[in-house]
């Protein structure tokens, strides 16, 4: 019973501190409004709002097909494919580097220098239901890279639009 009381006390103190800190912290968030679920592909309003050009105020920008095309054509920066090496080998956006999200420890050191030099980064994964590109964008942003464009339509949309693709296991050389 004593242990239970102690646990409840710790939780109550933690909750008070948590709510209090969140209310006054500049990093405080709306507890009942999770933006990550809005980001998740099925909110058309979110995508429309974030298909703008690169801006300093938005380090991570969600873009649609035409903007991704523009990025690739104008060679604005590095393109990262976060899918598996097998999927990458079957086909990827021209110029994209393989960056399998779940082996970040392996790929990041390999591409770190190029990422630092890149003016912008475009990331994509399989399709609109895939969140890995969004997750990688956040990881890269935390590591100090920006601006980052997240192409939510992913490789399926790119391929369905009959845009050019590259295939092969070797990674594309950096620009």
């Amino acid at each position: 019973m004593k242990i239970f009381k102690q646990i409840v006390t710790i939780l109550v103190v933690s909750f008070i501190c948590g709510f209090g800190f969140n209310a006054f912290s500049p990093h405080g968030i709306d507890i009942f409004d999770n933006p990550w679920s809005k980001h998740a592909s099925n909110d058309p309003n979110y995508q429309v709002e974030h298909t703008s050009q690169l801006g300093e105020e938005e380090p991570i920008v969600f873009v649609e097909l035409y903007r991704a095309c523009q990025f690739v054509e104008d060679q604005e920066g590095m393109i990262l494919d976060v899918r598996t090496p097998e999927e990458y080998a079957k086909g990827h956006i021209p110029g994209a580097h393989l960056f399998f999200f779940y082996h970040m420890n392996e790929y990041y050191p390999r591409l770190e220098d190029q990422l630092k030099e890149s003016a912008a980064i475009l990331v994509y994964c399989g399709n609109i239901d895939c969140d890995d590109s969004e997750f990688l964008a956040n990881e890269l942003f935390n590591l100090g890279h920006a601006p980052i464009l997240v192409y939510k339509g992913g490789f399926e949309e790119w391929k369905a639009s009959h845009l050019p693709i590259e295939s092969g296991e070797g990674e594309t050389e950096g620009k």
Binding site: K2, I3, F4, K5, Q6, I7, T9, I10, L11, V13, S14, F15, C17, G18, F19, F21, N22, S25, H27, G28, I29, D30, I31, F32, D33, N34, P35, W36, S37, T84, E86, F100, F101, Y102, H103, M104, N105, D131, F135, N138, E139, N142
Partner: protein
């Protein structure tokens, strides 16, 4: 072995180590609740509606527990809480690793990701082992304190 594990110096060392780990992990997350919420979302275990709530409160549970380990206040409760939380964390990490294995086909011993533990991208088999060690450490601290209190009552 039991005497070694429950030796006061051993317990004191464990307490300080656990306090440092919890305080570091909690403080790392408390400054970036939105980022922590996103990492929680990757587990696909919690409904979106409570992700932010958990992201705001969980770091403080770690911080307050860390302070308890450091100060000795509510120590048994903090130790039991540590074991309970780390059991849940280990299961959640293993579950996410299984999801990744089933969707990507990569092996368990090749998986690394940011588990939201406050230490960035980590090698998952090692992380699960660390969590299980913390479960054991929590139980050792709780048992040693309980035994100490029982001995004092006898005297």
């Amino acid at each position: 072995m039991k005497r070694f594990l429950l030796h006061p110096l051993m317990v004191w060392g464990c307490r300080l180590a656990v306090a440092a780990i919890l305080l570091y992990a909690g403080v790392q997350k408390v400054w970036m609740p939105l980022e922590f919420a996103r990492l929680l979302k990757e587990y696909h275990l919690l409904p979106d509606q409570i992700l932010n709530l958990v992201a705001v409160l969980l770091p403080w549970v770690e911080i307050i527990s860390g302070l308890c380990f450091f100060s000795g206040l509510w120590l048994v409760g903090a130790a039991v809480l540590l074991s309970g939380m780390n059991t849940i964390f280990a299961v959640a990490i293993a579950y996410r690793a299984l999801l990744i294995m089933s969707t990507t086909g990569i092996g368990f011993f090749d998986i690394s990701f940011d588990c939201g533990c406050g230490f960035g991208v980590v090698y998952i088999p090692t992380k699960i082992l660390e969590n299980l060690i913390l479960v054991g450490v929590g139980l050792i601290i709780a048992l040693s304190r309980q035994r100490g209190e029982a001995e004092r009552k006898v005297k």
